[in-house]
Symmetry: C2
Subunit: 200 residues, 2 copies
């Protein structure tokens, strides 16, 4: 890895951290340069524009998400355990991956009405995650861990809701029981999907 490449990685690391505190839009070249001990122009030389920087920050975070959430998840046993693994890692990702809030959650509400490459990248990442999640849940159905009438997309929707509620309670309200509540909600969600030899 050349010098330029390594500084760029360092920049993106710092940018991710900063963006989690002030938002992807609140991120400025000046403060980022100060944080990385570079001059504004020295830093800027690594990117074509601010928008390009923002997009690359998202991609950088996405790579990390793949490493610490997705990859270990698919290593877990198929079916419900894998769903559980995903949930566990997702929750802990939100708590530990950033100094501030999860940049995907933050950026989602910041850019949901602002057309552009940032929004596009955000949608791409979300669609990707949703697709993987749906697949994992579908497997839990085909393995017989979940009932046949469980709709994976609906399950994914509700799971995302729990994770968002967790983020909200934890970051804004500083609710110490946020994680415990999330786990309870998850258990309730899963329980409702188990085949209890009840109906057809």
């Amino acid at each position: 890895m050349g010098k330029g490449e390594s500084t760029k990685t360092a920049i993106l690391d710092e940018a991710t951290e900063l963006a989690s505190l002030v938002g992807l839009g609140g991120l400025t070249i000046g403060t980022l340069a100060a944080a990385t001990k570079l001059s504004k122009s020295g830093l800027y030389a690594h990117f074509a524009s601010k928008e390009a920087l923002q997009v690359q920050v998202l991609q950088h975070a996405r790579d990390r998400f793949t490493d610490v959430v997705m990859r270990p998840t698919v290593a877990a046993p198929r079916g419900e355990p894998r769903v559980r693994e995903f949930f566990d890692r997702w929750i802990s990702w939100q708590s530990t991956a950033f100094g501030g809030g999860c940049i995907f959650v933050d950026a989602a509400s910041e850019f949901d009405d602002q057309e552009g490459q940032v929004r596009d990248e955000l949608v791409r990442a979300e669609r990707d995650k949703l697709e993987s999640l749906t697949l994992i849940i579908g497997t839990a159905v085909s393995e017989g861990h979940f009932r046949e009438d469980v709709d994976p997309e609906q399950f994914a929707y509700e799971l995302e809701g729990i994770v968002l509620a967790h983020h909200h309670a934890r970051r804004l309200m500083r609710d110490g029981r946020a994680e415990e509540r999330a786990r309870r909600a998850f258990d309730r969600l899963v329980d409702g999907c188990r085949p209890i030899a009840r109906s057809a």
Copy 2:
């Protein structure tokens, strides 16, 4: 209502709309002045600082929330119907109250790490809403519509999750079935709370 007061209301209306598009932090005096056809200084004269403006925008939106969600809700019959009314109005508030996203959701992730009056006001509003919601759910328990072992705070947490998932799916992903999914999730949540003469 004096002249100054009416212009101030007009400013706050426009500011709410604008903030729902670009975020409360993305709101600038210049663009807001242009939108209201006032000069920067003429507009600024109504507020002590930008932070004060942001806080008052939140309070303004909170008043509207009280009018179109809270007040009609408490007019509904006690118990489950009232819970349902709250949910319905909350969902439709998110869809119709703003041109962009719900400013409370947007601002929550934008300011969750930025100490100050804006964050304080945000927490105050959320705590208020959560308290009312918990009360409403508690009533559904004491009315016998929900089981005795239903935890109102946990219910409120999960309900908030559904609403957040709805906002996310609708605004970022532009999922046309977002509302339908939210309703299904809500029904599942309520169903799980009904007394089915099952256990102790």
